[in-house]
């Protein structure tokens, strides 16, 4: 059965199955309600995805070791710290900042003429983490033992669980869309079975006068597909309207206010009616052919 043949109206074929009452309404309503929910699941998923990306990017894979030591020991301890860092698994590279770099860092606070050499400033060592990550507690203990003036500062690490939570949320959103699709398929299958049972005699007569299975199935499949398409279109439109009407106070910058579609993201929900139609097509077709197998 060619799905495109469903779009071409075939009034004769449509009329051989009597117009159905409540199953029609049930299918449209189910598809509409499910599409409405799916729009929000999709918005959630996209927003969570954006958040996950942003946080992961912000999660610079660098940390700093701050080393304070008497001047005569500074070079020695710097060497020791670099030595430890080079042996720590999960650390890609470590590099002591030059005086110039440190001066550049402090300039915004103390002005350009800061005599860095004369001040007892700590030495900063830039640590770049490998993808695997490192055991920060272990590193901290080793530093304490071998270079007591060294302090590991990995403040950006706190963002990591948030980034993980955001990508979980994206996954949950996608999972919800999957569940909504499955539930839609189940309900349309029930409605289609009810319609097929109510029309058992009609199907029998059609079969007796020489109708092929595909002809009989099409009469039902066409109906349910178009109903699902129509219902889901309305549900999607309402859902998108709901999302569009969410306040977008960027200043708050919170997750909730970011729960919209952005740019091309508005195209995604438009596939929901097509998806619903596809689900209805497959579910009704399967039901119809199963039912027809009971007849010769």
């Amino acid at each position: 059965m060619n799905p495109l043949s469903l779009i071409r109206p075939d009034r004769q074929a449509d009329r051989v199955v009597p117009p159905s009452g409540h199953t029609a309404w049930l299918t449209s309503f189910t598809a509409g309600a499910m599409a409405f929910l799916a729009v929000f699941a999709m918005a959630l998923s996209l927003a969570a995805g954006r958040l996950a990306d942003r946080w992961s990017d912000a999660l610079e894979r660098t940390a700093t070791v701050r080393l304070s030591a008497p001047e005569d020991q500074m070079d020695l301890q710097t060497k020791a710290v670099l030595e430890i860092l080079s042996k720590t698994p999960g650390i890609a590279s470590a590099r002591a900042m030059t005086d110039d770099e440190q001066r550049a860092l402090l300039e915004p606070w103390f002005g350009p003429d800061l005599p860095v050499d004369a001040l007892p400033l700590p030495r900063l060592i830039e640590v770049t983490e490998a993808d695997s990550g490192y055991d920060s507690e272990g590193l901290r203990q080793r530093l304490a033992a071998e270079a007591p003036g060294a302090v590991l500062d990995d403040h950006t690490r706190w963002r990591r669980p948030l980034a993980v939570a955001a990508s979980r949320l994206r996954l949950l959103g996608l999972l919800s869309i999957g569940l909504i699709g499955t539930a839609t398929a189940a309900m349309i299958t029930l409605a289609a079975n009810a319609a097929l049972a109510a029309n058992a005699q009609v199907i029998r007569v059609l079969r007796l006068v020489g109708a092929r299975d595909s002809y009989i199935a099409r009469a039902f499949v066409r109906r349910f597909t178009l109903r699902a398409l129509g219902g889901a279109a309305v549900g999607t439109a309402l859902g998108m309207l709901g999302v569009a009407l969410l306040p977008s106070t960027d200043t708050a910058g919170g997750f909730l206010t970011g729960l919209g579609f952005q740019g091309f993201g508005w195209i995604y929900p438009l596939i929901l009616p097509l998806l619903a139609a596809g689900v209805a097509f497959l579910a009704t077709r399967a039901s119809a052919f199963r039912k027809l197998q009971e007849l010769t």
Partner: protein
């Protein structure tokens, strides 16, 4: 055309029909008789593939029924016109659409004039727009006959076509079937109405088959 070899059928209990061998030759006219419950309808259902034999072989247009796909069965039914015992109409469609249904499901156009001519021929020209439930028994039987022949089938199977008709109406229906046979159609009528059979034999060379004790036998000359 339709051939049965050692066919048996059982609905699950004991055998209703057993060891039946029969050939419907092209252009022949047969009656099938026997008491109610003897298996006349069952036999006809075997002849158009609604039931499959529990033993033996049935050949429709030179093809074994068991070897036919579901689509093949549909195509075969378009070549066999059946007047069902209970007519089997779609009550939500007007009579004309019901009569044209075999054409509709075959995706063929039903010429409006041909349809009107056919309805007129069976005496239903003025009832084209009526719904089946509004029709009398005789009107339904004639409509069922019109639907059975609209595809121009080679074979016509009629199950008690005069079942609930008065004598005059029965004769009209019989005349239509005799006319069709003269046009070359193979006709098989299941009936328990012996008067109808006698009447037919005066008009045409009809053979009478009788179901007795699960077998089909050619009836004697007394009929």
């Amino acid at each position: 055309m339709i051939a049965l070899e050692n066919v048996a059928y059982s609905y699950g209990g004991g055998e209703l029909l057993s060891d039946i061998s029969l050939r419907l030759a092209p252009g022949s006219f047969h009656f099938l008789t026997g008491p109610s419950g003897a298996g006349k309808s069952t036999f006809l259902k075997l002849c158009y593939g609604e039931l499959l034999p529990t033993a033996g072989r049935i050949t429709l247009f030179d093809r074994e029924v068991r070897g036919l796909s579901r689509d093949d069965i549909a195509l075969t039914r378009r070549r066999i016109g059946v007047v069902h015992q209970d007519c089997q109409f779609l009550d939500h469609l007007p009579l004309a659409a019901n009569v044209a249904l075999p054409l509709t499901v075959a995706g063929k156009p039903s010429g409006a004039q041909d349809l009107t001519d056919l309805l007129t021929w069976v005496g239903l020209g003025n009832l084209a727009d009526a719904r089946p439930p509004q029709l009398s028994g005789g009107e339904r039987q004639r409509a069922a006959l019109a639907r059975a022949i609209i595809m121009g089938p080679d074979v016509i199977l009629a199950d008690e076509p005069t079942g609930n008709l008065d004598w005059e109406m029965s004769l009209r229906l019989l005349t239509l079937l005799v006319e069709l046979n003269r046009m070359g159609k193979t006709v098989l009528i299941a009936t328990h109405d012996l008067n109808l059979i006698r009447q037919a034999k005066s008009q045409i060379a009809a053979r009478v088959l009788r179901i007795t004790k699960r077998k089909i036998q050619l009836a004697g000359a007394d009929l």
